[in-house]
């Protein structure tokens, strides 16, 4: 049985930030990621990030990913790729299917003092007749193909969903040389930031509100999509159907936290729509109701990369404090800076629901925590 002070599951921005802050403060950290490439969603993000200087605003996502990786390595963080955590067992023991680099996998058992769950989120699916045809895929899949694999999975797209993912991937599709026939949004207003919407409108892509995908068809792959308008209860309005000739439909219908490992351990979860679905309760240090197990980033509620970075940092500092490599008086100062930054990131009309939801989680988490 291998022993580690801290095991971080997931090498996206939250996981890397946690590993860096813990390692900088003298904690022994192992990061485990099931993918063959580290960085989570960062490497698909070719646009300049928002936020402030602390969040590397103005820098493109994939460059931020590179920087984080280098910082992690520089601080002695060990990273296992192609390695899936297949379970967390009592006593904070993990079972890992470790990739040995030659296609072989070995089963490793690790006993950790602290565990950080930074497994991110998965995309929601929207089903409709014809959705199983090749050519219907998630917006994240499109993004991976165009920005990481550098190949177009189609030439003429319909985007379903006008949140930031739908808007940004539409823009990135045009940068990759594809056409986007339209963005359809079932709600009555644009879900994402207006500046993202403005870019795609300037490029001539219509954003059709109160509109949804009704069905799709084609011989052996997608050839057309039928959209229709919906009323205020999101019910299709007969007679408003329109057929678009598209070869690919990208579905950008939101994300939900990936929390199987937390549930497996028995951590308390709550259903919080503002954060994407079932979310493990956590306290101000990002610790769940399972002692020694932390949750950060999209797994703790779907937000943004900059909140993921901050939550990761928070857990890293909290872990260093818990294992005793920094004093509580130093820890509280550092955590207060991070709490302040997190609150600032959650201001404004796009963040306020999340701010309230997070406050509620921490209150609930405190109540549950005191009971365990």
């Amino acid at each position: 049985m291998i022993e580690k002070q801290a095991v971080v599951i997931g090498s996206g921005p939250a996981g890397l930030a946690a590993s860096i802050e813990a390692a900088k403060r003298g904690v022994e950290v192992l990061v485990v990621d099931e993918n063959s490439l580290p960085g989570g969603q960062l490497f698909k993000q070719i646009h300049k990030f928002f936020g402030s200087a602390d969040h590397r605003a103005g820098i493109r996502g994939f460059n931020i990913g590179q920087d984080l990786l280098e910082e992690a390595r520089k601080n002695g963080v060990e990273i296992w790729l192609d390695s899936a955590v297949i379970g967390i067992f009592p006593g904070r023991e993990l079972a890992v299917e470790k990739g040995e680099g030659n296609g072989n996998k070995t089963l490793q058992k690790i006993k950790a003092q602290k565990i950080v769950i930074a497994t991110g989120a998965s995309e929601n699916a929207v089903s409709f007749p014809g959705w199983t045809l090749p050519g219907v895929m998630s917006a994240g899949a499109v993004q991976t193909f165009i920005n990481v694999q550098r190949v177009l999975p189609g030439e003429r797209f319909l985007m379903v969903g006008s949140g930031n993912v739908g808007l940004i991937v539409t823009y990135q599709l045009m940068q990759a040389g594809a056409d986007v026939a339209a963005i359809v949004e079932a709600a009555g207003s644009i879900g994402g930031y207006a500046v993202h919407a403005a870019k795609v409108r300037r490029a001539g892509v219509p954003i059709r509100l109160n509109t949804t995908i009704k069905k799709a068809g084609g011989q052996e792959e997608l050839e057309w999509a039928e959209i229709c308008q919906v009323d205020s209860s999101w019910q299709p309005i007969p007679g408003t159907e329109e057929t678009l000739e598209v070869d690919t439909i990208a579905i950008a219908a939101g994300l939900k936290p990936l929390i199987q490992l937390a549930r497996m351990q028995g951590c308390h979860v709550e259903f919080i729509p503002e954060l994407g679905g079932w979310v493990p309760l956590h306290d101000k240090n990002m610790e769940t109701t399972c002692p020694g197990i932390f949750v950060v980033g999209d797994s703790a509620g779907v937000e943004e990369a900059n909140t993921a970075l901050e939550e990761g940092r928070l857990a890293g500092v909290a872990i260093a404090e818990a294992v005793g490599t920094i004093s509580p008086s130093r820890a509280i100062l550092e955590k207060e800076e991070i709490w302040k930054r997190l609150e600032n990131l959650r201001l404004g009309p796009f963040g306020e629901h999340r701010l309230l939801a997070k406050k509620k989680i921490i209150e609930e988490g405190n109540r549950q925590w005191k009971r365990e």
Partner: protein
């Protein structure tokens, strides 16, 4: 058809990397080290990865991140290989999966 993005305004010139040759349903295909099987195939414009067991329906990429298994193909004789998270290797043999078999076999 070649759907590889040759010059990208942010990412620059086309993906670099060692060339590899893989075989897709018997046909040699050129791929690049670091590409996923799914990418190498979709670069040719071909989007069908498999046909389902019961209805023989065509399926292709859906989630692209290794969770939905719609993209599985028979790779080096092993069925149900998730092509969106499997990297190509020189000499790799890739077959359209039919049900749980490859090689043009009927649905089982």
């Amino acid at each position: 058809m070649d759907r590889r993005i040759k010059k990208h305004p942010i990412l620059g010139e086309g993906k670099q990397g060692e060339e590899v040759t893989v075989y897709f349903d018997g046909r040699p295909l050129s791929g690049k080290k670091g590409e996923t099987v799914a990418a190498t195939i979709i670069a040719t414009g071909h989007r069908i990865n498999r046909f389902t067991r019961k209805m023989g329906s065509p399926r292709g990429i859906f989630c692209g991140i290794g969770q939905c298994t719609d993209c599985v193909m028979v790779v080096n004789g092993i069925p149900n290989t998730r092509t969106c998270v499997t990297l190509v290797e020189d000499g790799m043999i890739i077959e359209t999966q039919r049900g749980t078999k490859g090689g043009g076999a009927e649905n089982d």
